[in-house]
Amino acid sequence: MTRFLLVRLGGALLSIVAASMLAFVLMRLVPGDPARQVLGQFATPDQLAAFRADNGLDGSIVEQYGRFVGNFVQGDWGTSFASGAPVRQLIGQRLPATIELVLVAFAGAVASALALALVSTYRPRAWLDRLVSGIAFVGMGTPPFWLGLLCLAVFFQQTHLLPGPDGRISPDLAPFPDRTGFMTLDALLAGRLDAFGSAVSHLLLPAFVLGFAMFAFLVRVLRASLLEVADEPFIAAAQCKGLSRWQAFTRHALPNAALPALTASGLVLGQLLTGSVLVEAVFDWPGIGGLVVHGIANKDYTVVQIFVLLSAVLYVSVNLLVDLLAAALDPRISLHAGTRRRRRDAPRAAAAAPPTARSEGA
């Protein structure tokens, strides 16, 4: 177990460092000068030099990176050039909004993917197969920002069913205390059902848009997995015990099919966080996605660097977590290194048949 963790953590660390370096270097290679951005066209060379010295933009890239890493581990995540506020504070303010959005999108995607996959495999029908494949196809090929704009056009502009891109909650409502950072939870905690309703309705479209691609991917993976498991003898054996086909499906097929899908959804969750950038831009959602978009446009290095670093950390952690979860849920996986098959305590010596190996054992 320790060996497993060490290997994975080591790999994780390497990935994170590599990602941060890449972000660091790329930002500086892209044309544009933050000093000029902030100070304007008419800044003098002295002013520009002063700005650079103040913000640690002088010296070689290696020196700058070194300074960056040094500050980061001490808790100093830099200061945004554009706003002057510490990056850490900016991110802290805006992170809950993104997390709320991502969690709702994730939950919605998983639930609907499960339902659709289950229904379409339980009683396979040609038209249903085509429908699900079609949805998956469209979902995976549609850019989220385009879908966002389309949804806004249909549900807001044309029909006024749902609110437009004005943030997380209707601005006309009376404010209430911010305790968790999650608008929906805070509204409930404050007992404000009107605010709760508004928060939910504002969440609907962005969560749908963000979750749609993930839903499409998950449906495909789950369906394929379920179809494979549905033909296994243990499903028929369960029915022969007296379970109905539906019971056999939900109690035996689903858990077995979900395990491979688990790893897949871990991957996608990581992508969700980074994918929220565009969706937040479309819906003017006050999350870190919006922050990053502005940061890139304004050459706000510090913000972008931290964002990339955090994304890398998150992605890698989610993957590790998913692997650990899979090991915990699947009794066939053992994280203990090089175990020799234990001798079975068979009651009769003759009954100790040789272990069924997955290798080419005779």
Binding site: E232, P233, F234, A236, A237, A238, Q239, C240, K241, G242, L243, S244, R245, R251, H252, P255, N256, L259, L329, D330, P331, R332, R344, D345, A346, P347, R348, A350, A351, A352, A353, P354, P355, T356
Partner: protein, 283 residues
């Protein structure tokens, strides 16, 4: 003569319109052990599965009737099937490893078999029943928390047997119950199955391609070829003096292997096969 338990008459089964079992008539009595013998494609497994209502997709019984303990099984609703399966009718599959859910402990799976028909059973009661069932097949109750992959092939098959007998069914269908096992485990497993089935008083329908096994464990043998019953009768007579040339052909092939003077194995001629297919008795 003991009561009639199962009576299938004129049963024809087709897959996607193509018949694989033709016009089969078969009777089983309470406590009787019947061996259903045949080679690949004989239809024996299909026939056995139809008795459980578990034909694979595309398969249906297109003609005939199957009466079990007084009720008609053909066109039975799923809800009624669920009441019979596991309680009055039970199965032991060929490959127990594949017939067990890999992510659930064996104790849980045996308990599930009990729970399906005894919905109000308490946890404690279930635990006792599971322990008793496992002990009966020679698996210590302490191993109830083990997963299928942690057991040997023989142990898994014994779990399958325990699961099948947990409600003392009237009929146990064993589909090639030992083919997937090693030779040393086969004998023990069959003996165990035989003992327990007799103990419960159930009838046994053993589907097998192995004539030796059937001759030793079943008092009645039914021989199938190409979807038809070629010959049926009490095992001692059938194996001592088979009436159909196909049966004698099969027996000769098996017997020849033990004959040190036999230089070439006898094979079954085309004419005999044709006769078996056309449903005529040949000599």
């Amino acid at each position: 003569m003991s009561e009639q338990l199962l009576h299938a008459s004129g049963v024809t089964i087709a897959y996607g319109g193509v018949p694989v079992v033709h016009d089969v008539t078969l009777t089983l009595h309470a406590g009787e052990r019947v061996g259903l013998v045949g080679e690949t494609g004989s239809g024996k497994s299909t026939l056995a599965m139809s008795l459980l209502g578990m034909l694979a997709r595309g398969g249906e019984v297109v003609a005939g009737s199957i009466a079990f303990a007084g009720r008609e099984l053909i066109d039975l609703r799923e809800r009624d099937w669920c009441r019979i399966r596991g309680r009055e009718l039970a199965v032991v599959f060929q490959d127990a490893g594949a017939a067990l859910d890999p992510v659930k402990s064996i104790g849980w799976q045996v308990a599930e078999a009990i729970r399906v028909h005894e919905r109000d059973a308490s946890r404690a009661h279930l635990r006792l029943r599971v322990a008793a069932a496992l002990e009966q097949v020679g698996i210590p109750a302490a191993r109830a928390g083990a997963y299928p992959h942690e057991l040997s092939g023989g142990q898994r098959q014994r779990v399958a047997i325990a699961t099948a007998l947990v409600h003392r069914p009237r009929l146990v269908i064993a589909d090639e119950p030992t083919s997937a096992l090693d030779v040393t485990t086969q004998a023990q497993t069959l003996r165990l199955l035989d003992d327990l089935v007799a103990d419960v008083g159930a009838a046994l329908l053993m589907v097998s391609h192995d004539l030796g096994v059937v001759s030793q464990f079943c008092e009645t043998t039914v021989v199938m070829y190409a979807g038809r019953i070629v010959e049926a009768g009490p095992s001692p007579e059938l194996f001592a003096q088979p009436r159909h040339a196909y049966t004698s052909g099969l027996l000769r092939s098996v017997a020849a292997l033990s004959d040190p003077d036999c230089r070439r194995l006898p094979t079954i001629g085309e004419d005999v096969l044709a006769a078996a297919t056309a449903d005529r008795e040949a000599r």
